[in-house]
């Protein structure tokens, strides 16, 4: 997976539990909220996503062929959700044929979730001080608002923002090259 420095694909394929756990921590909550768009009930959604991870674990040796693991995960969740609905006979329309590709509204959701995930990842790598400041800054809070909330000087907020930007620039630069060398 290209935009993902956290994913240890070769570790996962070899059956490294820690690599599997990182993948789980990274994706589980977002996939559950995605499954809930289909099945409404949280318990069923969690069950579906858990089954997806079991499947990933069992098929770990064959993951090589997948060019984009995150899109693959969303497709699996979609597939299993449809299966569940079919089994439960909750909706008639659920029986319509399943296609691998995501539909329009699903793509939008995929984009939202993935954007959020990448942003959170980038923030995790920042030192705690600038993470606190920057996570608020990207939500549109002004330096003054942040300074008040955290009880620090406006100057400090600005400085921490700069540190964050500098560190992220390096990181995101890498992300860019990786994306093009692998994906295109």
């Amino acid at each position: 997976m290209i935009e993902d420095n956290s994913l240890n694909m070769s570790g996962l394929m070899k059956g490294d539990e820690r690599a599997f756990q990182s993948l789980f921590i990274d994706y589980y909550p977002l996939l559950v909220s995605s499954a809930m768009k289909y099945v409404d009930e949280q318990e069923a959604a969690e069950d579906i996503v858990q089954d997806v991870f079991v499947k990933v674990w069992e098929g770990r040796e064959n993951l090589q062929g997948i060019d984009n693991l995150s899109a693959y995960l969303y497709q699996m969740v979609r597939f299993k959700s449809f299966n569940y609905l079919r089994a439960e006979k909750v909706r008639q329309q659920a029986t319509k044929s399943f296609t691998e590709e995501l539909e329009f509204f699903e793509i939008n959701e995929y984009i939202e979730n993935e954007t959020f995930r990448i942003v959170m990842h980038a923030l995790e790598d920042l030192p705690a001080g600038s993470r606190n400041v920057f996570s608020r800054a990207i939500q549109g809070y002004s330096a003054k608002e942040i300074a008040e909330e955290l009880g620090i000087a406006v100057e400090t907020v600005k400085k921490q923002k700069q540190i964050a930007r500098r560190m992220l620039k390096e990181k995101l630069g890498n992300l860019f090259t990786l994306f093009f060398s692998v994906a295109c």
Binding site: Y28, P29, L30, Y110, I111, E112, N113, R131, S135, L172
Partner: protein, 385 residues
């Protein structure tokens, strides 16, 4: 390759900064393709997007999810083994196989249903947040591994985490967080040898290694502390609005957000329980209580009632059913609904094992009087019989 797959990368760069000219062109092209794309773009960059997503995600119990995956993985291995045996036999006796296969799948279904339906008792599980923000999920199945991080090694052992054993000197304080979900318990040995037993729905923030004159940790929820004696370095437990200061001792703190009072129960040694300008000194067998108005008092108690949980026992003496259900529901991770308020006032005395089935707990509680429990999924309805 599908175009949309690169969009999250571009959008995250808009939020974080660092979108190149060339990438901006590509993003513009995508935005121009449809009204929906443009709408989505604004949805993501507007104030509150990250907040909304954070809320969405925080509703999911990740530790429980992982434990279920581990369980399901095991079941699959088992049922696949059965199937393999069957397929070997298939060459020999085809008609018999059909029946066996049918029984085999039947069994598998039953097993997965059980996981979903039966109310499980709590278990050893926790979420550990390291100083750099990475998370680890811990449970019964995952022991004997070692994490290294700046300033400390952490061993994952049979019943908990251990931070002992690293003698390197660190100047800076790094904090870790141990979170126990509903239905969980876990223990941890801090760098000074202090052991903390954590109960369900509780969180402890502590330095990887104690630095300076004080040993300070932060707690919400319930924990039992066995503090290593060290007169030169007092041990402090910070709660939301109060502090417990100790020298070397064993005690229990119960400080849940959804309870009206904070209780500190002393088993051995001596502690000071402080909040604002209020202060009580506790001797063994005494309990300090801080109420919502900030008033503090102390009383003599049977400490066993407040510490039995760490031995795997619920112990109640003339306890109101409402209080009992609060404690029980955290451990079994169930929701309680009161159909008759009067039942909250029913009292119960007795001991129950925490690792018993929930149904057994209910039977014991029902025996004492005319209270009726109805279980629907994870919801418990309580009424007068």
């Amino acid at each position: 390759m599908n175009r949309y797959k690169e969009i999250p990368t571009l959008l995250s760069k808009v939020l974080l900064g660092g979108l190149s000219k060339e990438e901006e062109v590509r993003l513009r092209a995508w935005r121009g393709k449809s009204v929906e794309n443009e709408h989505l773009y604004h949805e993501v960059i507007k104030r509150g997007f990250v907040e909304k997503k954070c809320q969405e995600v925080s509703r999911v119990n990740i530790v429980d999810g992982y434990m279920n995956v581990i369980r399901k993985r095991k079941q699959h291995v088992r049922s696949r083994r059965i199937k393999r045996v069957i397929s070997i036999a298939a060459g020999i006796l085809l008609p018999v196989i059909v029946v066996l296969l049918w029984v085999g799948t039947e069994e598998e279904q039953q097993v997965s249903e059980q996981v979903a339906r039966v109310i499980r008792h709590g278990e050893l599980k926790a979420e550990l947040v390291l100083a750099d923000g990475t998370k680890r999920l811990l449970g019964k199945e995952m022991t004997d591994s070692l994490f290294s991080q700046q300033g400390a090694n952490i061993w994952v052992q049979d019943k908990g985490l251990n931070y002992l054993g690293d003698t390197s000197v660190v100047a800076e304080v790094h904090y870790n967080i141990l979170r126990i979900p509903r239905g969980g318990e876990y223990s941890i040995t801090l760098s000074d040898g202090t052991v903390v037993y954590m109960n369900s729905e509780s969180e402890l923030r502590y330095p990887v290694k104690f630095v300076g004159n004080e040993r300070k940790v932060f707690l919400s929820g319930e924990a039992y502390f066995d503090v290593t004696s060290d007169k030169d370095h007092p041990f402090l437990v910070e709660l939301k609005k109060s502090v417990v200061k100790v020298l070397g001792t064993s005690f229990d703190i119960r400080a849940y957000e959804d309870e009206d009072v904070v209780m500190t129960t002393l088993v051995r040694g001596k502690v000071a329980f402080l909040s604002g300008d209020k202060k009580v000194i506790l001797n063994p067998g005494e309990q300090g209580i801080l109420d919502q108005t900030g008033e503090m008092e102390k009383r003599g108690v049977d400490t066993y009632l407040y510490t039995a949980w760490k031995e795997g026992v619920f112990a109640f003496q003339q306890e109101r059913l409402e209080e009992i259900m609060k404690i029980v529901s955290r451990w079994y991770n169930v929701n309680v609904f009161w159909e008759n308020e009067s039942q909250k006032e029913v009292t119960f005395t007795g001991k129950m094992r925490r690792y018993d089935d929930f149904s057994k707990i209910v039977t014991m509680l029902e025996m004492t009087g005319n209270t009726e429990f109805e279980i629907k999924g994870n919801n418990i309805f309580i009424r007068e019989r």
